[in-house]
Symmetry: C2
């Protein structure tokens, strides 16, 4: 941790203590010079009552900024502690996309309260929010804000500057000026920098970039994030089906998307529930979300019981065979989840595509064989040392090669097959692969043992 | 997939075919109107020779843009196919931070070639790159570019605008103007939008925001990403130990950081090697990077052999006990990796902190117990149906409760313990937890069996 970071953490801690222990009339002076983001960071540690008091003493703009930065499931609760008047003024100060999200969250939490507050909003603000809420949450339409700045192609540079002075838009929405045809179609883009360095009497048409990278309202949020990362823009324009400019997506929304998508993949890979906010979920909620996955895996794994009890006679004759079961199937699971993890992530970051299937297969045949041979060598030595039985050592070595090879191929190709079938590749979770390899590994094990030890077994 | 996306993929595919099949003299006209990012997307599919030809026909600026957007391990190879002259002009057209990265990559690839090319660079360009390469790659100093635009506090708005017209900086570096004291200290920030809406004779000092959110050169890249995401800035200023402004980090660098950090966590959770570019690694490289983890896990897992062979006598008497081993320890692994995944990700996104340890412990005691009870109920019914042995069914149910509870506590708390010890919590990988729970689960199993079945066992 660098000094800057330690200093920042001290400041946050001081703020937390100050906010917690302050009397109500002191809150205003405490929060006056504090950055909203810092209040957001200590938010969770404040009592519900204190949260309401803080939102009440701040200016509606500052309160709105805090509200917009709270996790979505904290928002309804915060709005619920406020008087209707106060809630209304804060909601009206929100950016339209944040307002739409906040109303949506409130509706899920308390439909009546949402209805009441909606009724209080200024008609045009309410209309914009309702317009935005029609779009899917995980598409560009659901991410965008309609607060862009657009100019006409025939305006001169000095006209644009006069227009900007008059309109005085938010700093965040004017990294770029978008150029619209009179019918609303997006035909160009202009950076503020281009505007400043251009001669005053030049027309926008002459200095704009005509071929604008854009997305449509139904572009998937992952695609939006990828485009933004690839092209290094702080904002991307969004057009509707007719090419009319309807909004912009800014980089902060995209950072959230990238983090959320990574979280989703990570949770899927661990066979954990994906739509969970762990810090806030109750044990009971967590139980309800986790149990179905674990139940499904347990039912699938119960096949291992059938396999082993099928070979019960074999184990009765050579009991020690049972002692190797966890080692063999565990390694299968490890090999498989290791490579599945790498392939799933490569698919997510687009380093791999489904058309790479043959390449992956060829590569993992070799890697799997190398891994199998090394792990088998370990097993052979291990069995010779601890058991001194050459036949069993050979059987285990062969089993290990086959399990590693098989696990490696399953782990590498299953995510690609899933992607091709339109299923999220991250669903080839470590627990999932482990379960599959438990069953497959046992079948391989007992078959190999029967072949290798066949001559010394009875009947 | 929306229509926009399909259309884009078709364009990319057409470009690939065109670039592959074109004659050398046609390359210039093909690439003339194509966005550099699109060339980057098809890059991998081109032959080495064709890659060199493309870089040679483009303007140095466009070639530099392509080079900067290639994965770091592709850069040295691309530079190697070019004439020294050509390589020099492309390198000189790179942004300083990209140049520093490219030279670093080239040095790792071929120190002689790096030395030769460095010698050809203009002295001031070379000096800047060498300056930047002194910083750690994963800290703000290693991410930043020194190409910021700064102004004096006493300049008037019209002076600043005249200055910008003259300097004509890159669009990407002027979302904000930074205000420096005469000694170089950062004392304020000004958005272009503030500049445009301000009266012409106002001084910068009067309209700047004096309290600038900034990082220092040694701030960790994760912290930089978090600040940028929290505050929604497209650029963050970087100061040295004395508060002098030395560079800015832009949002494209930060998006890369967020994706890389997520990839690292995902790989660790799958016990996969973290510094691997799967699409480009050879099977042998992959083997060398994966084998140590698998070997370590296998050695740890070999403890299961010791546990089981210790209870060999027990299995000889009741062989069917062996058939439940995968089910029991597999479920332990699944429960543990499920919760570890959630906790590790919550720690990464700062929803959880180490101080939440008691809260997590309490929560997971309850969740673990609920999960254990439900899984035990399944096991009890399963054994009664398939085996009809009440004693064994009871033993398995109790075992299942204890394993689930224990796995849940280990999976939930180990990441927190790791974080507290300064170890990456993501190292509590699914395979790692699975391995631990294999051993612990077996010990629980056999102890419970001995207690419950004690009265019917011999000796």
């Amino acid at each position: 941790m660098d000094t800057e970071q330690i200093h920042r953490q001290q400041e946050i801690e001081e703020l937390r203590v100050a906010l917690e222990s302050a009397r109500t009339y002191e809150l205003e002076s405490i929060t006056e010079n504090v950055r909203t983001q810092e209040i957001v960071e200590v938010w969770e540690d404040l009592s519900d009552e204190r949260q309401g008091e803080v939102l009440s003493v701040l200016s509606p703009e500052k309160a709105a900024e805090i509200l917009a930065n709270l996790p979505e499931d904290e928002q309804p609760q915060a709005l619920d502690t406020l008087s209707a008047d106060r809630a209304q003024s804060i909601l009206e100060a929100l950016d339209p996309d944040d307002l739409a999200d906040a109303l949506q969250a409130l509706e899920d939490y308390s439909p009546e309260r949402a209805e009441t507050l909606k009724g209080l909003l200024a008609p045009e603000i309410r209309a914009t929010a309702e317009e935005l809420s029609r779009y899917e949450e995980d598409e560009a339409g659901g991410l965008m804000t309609p607060e862009f700045v657009s100019v006409g192609a025939n305006m001169t540079v000095s006209q644009v500057i006069r227009f900007l002075r008059r309109a005085s838009p938010d700093a965040e929405t004017v990294y770029y000026l978008y150029v619209q045809e009179t019918d609303g179609r997006l035909i160009g883009v202009l950076s503020l920098r281009d505007l400043i360095v251009a001669p005053e009497d030049q027309r926008v048409r002459e200095i704009m970039i005509p071929d604008v990278i854009h997305v449509t309202t139904d572009t998937d949020q992952e695609e939006v994030a990828r485009l933004m990362a690839d092209y290094d823009f702080p904002a991307l324009p969004v057009v509707d089906a007719d090419g009319h400019l309807v909004g912009i997506v800014t980089v902060d929304d995209v950072i959230d998307v990238i983090e959320d998508e990574a979280t989703e993949d990570i949770h899927r890979l661990g066979a954990a529930p994906v739509d969970v906010d762990y810090a806030r979920a109750s044990p009971w909620e967590m139980f309800l979300k986790r149990a179905p996955w674990l139940g499904l895996l347990l039912v699938s794994m119960s096949l291992t019981f059938n396999v082993i009890s099928h070979y019960e006679g074999l184990i009765e004759q050579v009991t020690i065979l049972a002692a190797f079961i966890p080692l063999l199937i565990g390694t299968g699971g490890n090999v498989g989840s290791q490579i599945a993890t790498v392939v799933v992530r490569s698919l997510a970051t687009r380093e791999l595509e489904t058309r790479d299937f043959p390449k992956v297969l060829g590569k993992e045949l070799i890697t799997g064989l190398c891994l199998g041979l090394s792990l088998a060598a370990f097993m052979f030595v291990y069995v010779m040392v601890f058991r001194g039985d050459f036949d069993i050592a050979i059987a285990l070595a062969i089993t290990m090669i086959l399990i590693a090879l098989c696990a490696n191929l399953v782990g590498a190709t299953l995510p690609l097959v899933f992607r091709r079938l339109g299923i999220d590749p991250a669903l080839t979770s470590s627990p999932g692969i482990t379960t599959v390899m438990d069953v497959v590994g046992l079948l391989i094990y007992f078959q190999i043992v029967l072949i290798v030890l066949g001559h010394i077994l009875e009947g």
